[in-house]
Amino acid sequence: MLTVLVSGLAIGALYAATGLAYNIMFSTSKVLSVTTGHICMLGGVFGAYFMLDLGLPAPVALVGAVLVGAAFGLLTEVIAIRRVLARSDEHLWLLSTLALATMVQQAVGLWWGTEPRPFPRLADQDFTAGVLDQKYWLPIAAVVAMALGLEFFYRRTMYGKVFQAVSEDAFAARARGIATDRTRALSFAIAGALGGLAGFAAGQLTFAFFALGLTLTLYGFIALAVGGLGSNVGALVGGVALGLFQTLATYLFGGEYQQTIAVGLLMVVLLVKPEGLFGSKKVRPV
C-alpha cells in the first residue's frame, strides 16, 4: 500500500508540475495551451537524447532539456498565441495550440520513434530500493522546487510583480507602461523551462515517450481545474489528489476505472465548487 501512495504522489507531482506550467502561461495570456503536456514530453525525450545518444553528463542534459522546453514555450507564444490574440477575442488559441501540439508530437514520433525509450538513472542507486527509488522522489522534489521558486519569483522579484499586474488587469498594466506582449512571451519561456525540468525529473517514471504530451495536457488541466485556475497551491493539491485517486482506483478496482475516476473527480469538484478548490470566485457586477 505504501508503494501505491508513493507512486501516486510521484505521478501526481508530474500532473501538478503540468498544472503549474498552465498557470504561468494563463496568468499573462488567459490561454490554456494544449502544448503544455508536450513541453514535459520534450523534457523527457531530449533529456534521454542528450544523455544516451550524445553521451552528455546529467547536469548538462538537464540544462539542455530546460533550454529546449523554454525554446518550445517561446515558440508556442510566437506561433500559436501572439497573432491569434492580436486578431481575435474568440478562443481560437485552442485550435492553434492543438495544431502546434499535434505537429510537435508527430515530429518527435518520426525523429525519436514511436516506442518508449529508456531514460537513464540520474543517481547511483540499486533498482531494489522500493519506495525510496529516485524515480518516485525526483518528480516530487522537482515540483516542490518549482512551487517554491515560483512563490519567490512572484513575491520577491520585480518581474514577478509585473506578471501579477498583467494577470490582474492587462489593459491597466499596459497603460502603466508594462510591455504586456514581452511579459507574455517571457511567461511562456518560463513555463517551458519548468515543464522541461518536470519532464526530465520524471523521465525514469514515464520513459522517453513521444505520446506522453496529450496525456499530461489532459491530466494537468484536470489537476488545475480541480485545484482552481490561477492558483499554484490549487495546481499542487489538484495534481497530487488526481495522482493518488488514479493509483488508488487502479489498485482497488482495476485500471479500467482510472480515467473514469479522474474525470469523475473533475465533475464532482466543478459541480460543488465550480471555481476549483483554491480558485477565486469571479463576480460580474451588474
Binding site: 518508449p116 482495476g254 485500471g255
Partner: protein
C-alpha cells in the same frame, strides 16, 4: 499477344488467304482479349507512422520486396503489380477514409491490412461491402467471418492461437496452474485478457489474479505485489504496449520475484530490452512466436526464411535488428495475392474468393496457408512456437525450453 508477320515470299490462294486473314484477325482479337495487361492494383493500408509503426515498417519492407520481385519476373501472368500504399498512422478514422478511397477512387483489386486490429475492425466491413478481397494481418478473432466478410482471408495467426499456445506452455510444459493475467485497458488488451481467461477456464483453471491496467501506467509494483500475494506461479501479460510489458518485467525484477512470464509476442521485441532496468530481467520470459523464425536444434532457421533473409539482407545493411516475422508476413501477403490471381486466372473478385477458399497448404515463408469455404483463418496451429524472449538474433529466436 503475337506480333509475328507472315513472310512475303510465301504464296497462298485467295481462299486460303481469306481463311488465314480471318484466323489471324480472330487470333489477334482473342490474343488481345485474353492477355490482360492491366496492372493488378493492391491497396496497402499500413501504419508507417504513429503508434505500433515498428511492425508496419518491417511488413512494408516485405510487401515492397515481394512486389518488386514479382514485377521483375514479369508480373502475375504478365500483369504488373501496382502497389498503392496509404499511411494510416494507426488511426482507425484515417484507415476508414483510405479504405474508401482505395475502393472507390483507386478501384483496387485487393487490400492488404490495415496493420492494427483496431483499424481492421473499422475497415473490414467497408471492404466487405465493396466486395474487395482483403488479406487480413490483424489478430483479433472477430476480423474474419465467412458469412459477414466472405472475401476477408487472414494470413497472420489469430489471437486465440497466440493465447492458446502460451496457456499450453504455461500449464503443460512449465506445470503452472496459478495464473496472474495482466491486460491493458485498450480494446485489444481487454478482449485478449478475457479470451485468456476463457481459454484457461476450458482447461479447468481460474486465474488467481486478473487485472486491466492503463497502457501508460508508470509503475506496476502494486499489481505485481498483488499477483504474488495471490499466490501466482506464472504471470501472463496480454498487451502490445511496449512500456507496459517492460514495466511488468522491471517490477518483477525489482521485487526479485522468481516467476516466469509467458505472454504476448511484443514482450520479445528489441525495444523491451532497452527499457529493462537490468538485462537479466528478461530471463524466464517466454512468448508466442513462429516456427518460421525459430532456430532449430541445429541452430538453423527453416530454409524459406533463410532464403528470404539472404535475398533481403543487403536492404537491411547486413544486420537484422527487428523481428523478422513481420517481414515474412508482409512478403507472404503479396505472394498469396499472386497465388489467388494465378489460380483464378483473373482478378475477378468472385473467382479470387473461390481460389482462396480452395487453397490448401500454400507454401509460404511465414507459414503454409490453408483456407476453406467456411475457414478464413489460414495460419496453421503448427506454425506457432513458444520462444525464449532474450535470445533475439537476426530477427529470430530460440525455442523455449521443453
Amino acid at each position: 499477344m503475337t506480333t509475328d508477320r507472315i513472310p512475303a515470299r510465301m504464296h497462298f490462294g485467295p481462299a486460303t488467304m481469306s481463311a488465314a486473314g480471318l484466323a489471324l484477325a480472330v487470333g489477334l482479337f482473342a490474343g488481345t482479349a485474353g492477355a490482360d495487361t492491366t496492372p493488378v492494383k493492391i491497396g496497402w493500408l499500413s501504419s508507417l507512422t504513429g503508434p505500433l509503426s515498428s511492425a508496419a515498417v518491417a511488413e512494408n519492407q516485405g510487401v515492397k520486396f515481394a512486389v518488386d520481385e514479382i514485377n521483375k519476373a514479369g508480373g502475375i501472368d504478365g500483369r504488373k503489380i501496382e502497389l498503392i500504399t496509404r499511411d494510416t498512422a494507426g488511426d482507425p478514422t484515417k484507415a476508414v477514409n483510405f479504405a474508401q478511397q482505395l475502393v472507390l477512387s483507386e478501384k483496387v483489386d485487393f487490400v492488404i491490412g490495415p496493420v492494427n486490429s483496431g483499424e481492421s475492425l473499422a475497415t473490414v466491413p467497408i471492404l466487405a461491402r465493396a466486395g474487395v478481397p482483403n488479406i487480413i494481418i490483424g489478430t483479433v478473432d472477430e476480423l474474419t467471418d465467412p458469412q459477414k466478410y466472405p472475401r476477408a482471408f487472414r494470413a497472420i495467426a489469430t489471437n486465440e492461437q497466440w493465447i492458446g499456445s502460451a496457456n499450453d506452455y504455461a500449464i503443460k510444459t512449465l506445470k503452472r496452474s496459478k495464473v496472474a493475467i495482466i491486460g491493458d485497458t485498450t480494446g485489444y488488451g481487454t478482449s485478449s485478457a478475457k479470451k485468456a481467461e476463457a481459454l484457461l477456464a476450458d482447461a479447468g483453471i481460474k486465474p488467481v489474479y486478473s487485472v486491466l491496467i492503463d497502457a501508460n501506467k508508470t509503475d506496476l509494483t502494486d499489481e505485481m505485489t498483488k499477483a504474488r500475494a495471490a499466490g501466482a506461479d506464472v504471470v501472463m501479460p496480454w498487451s502490445a504496449a511496449t512500456g507496459l510489458l517492460a514495466r511488468v518485467l522491471n517490477a518483477r525484477g525489482n521485487m526479485q520475484w522468481d516467476v516466469p512470464v509467458v505472454g504476448h509476442p511484443a514482450i520479445m521485441g528489441l525495444p523491451i530490452k532497452d527499457l529493462l532496468n537490468k538485462p537479466e530481467y528478461w530471463e524466464q520470459t517466454y512468448a508466442a512466436g513462429y516456427s518460421s523464425t525459430t532456430y532449430g536444434a541445429d541452430g538453423k532457421l527453416p530454409a524459406p526464411t533463410t532464403a528470404l533473409m539472404d535475398k533481403m539482407r543487403p536492404e537491411f545493411g547486413g544486420t537484422i535488428n527487428f523481428t523478422f516475422w513481420w517481414v515474412t508476413l508482409g512478403y507472404d501477403t503479396v505472394k498469396i495475392i499472386e497465388h489467388a490471381v494465378k489460380t483464378a486466372g483473373s482478378t475477378d473478385k468472385a473467382a479470387v474468393q473461390k481460389a482462396l477458399e480452395n487453397t490448401q497448404n500454400l507454401k509460404g515463408t511465414y507459414a503454409d496457408y490453408s483456407w476453406g469455404p467456411k475457414q478464413r483463418n489460414g495460419f496453421p496451429d503448427s506454425g506457432i512456437v513458444i520462444n525464449k524472449a532474450n535470445t533475439f538474433k537476426d530477427g529470430s529466436f530460440e525455442a523455449a525450453p521443453h
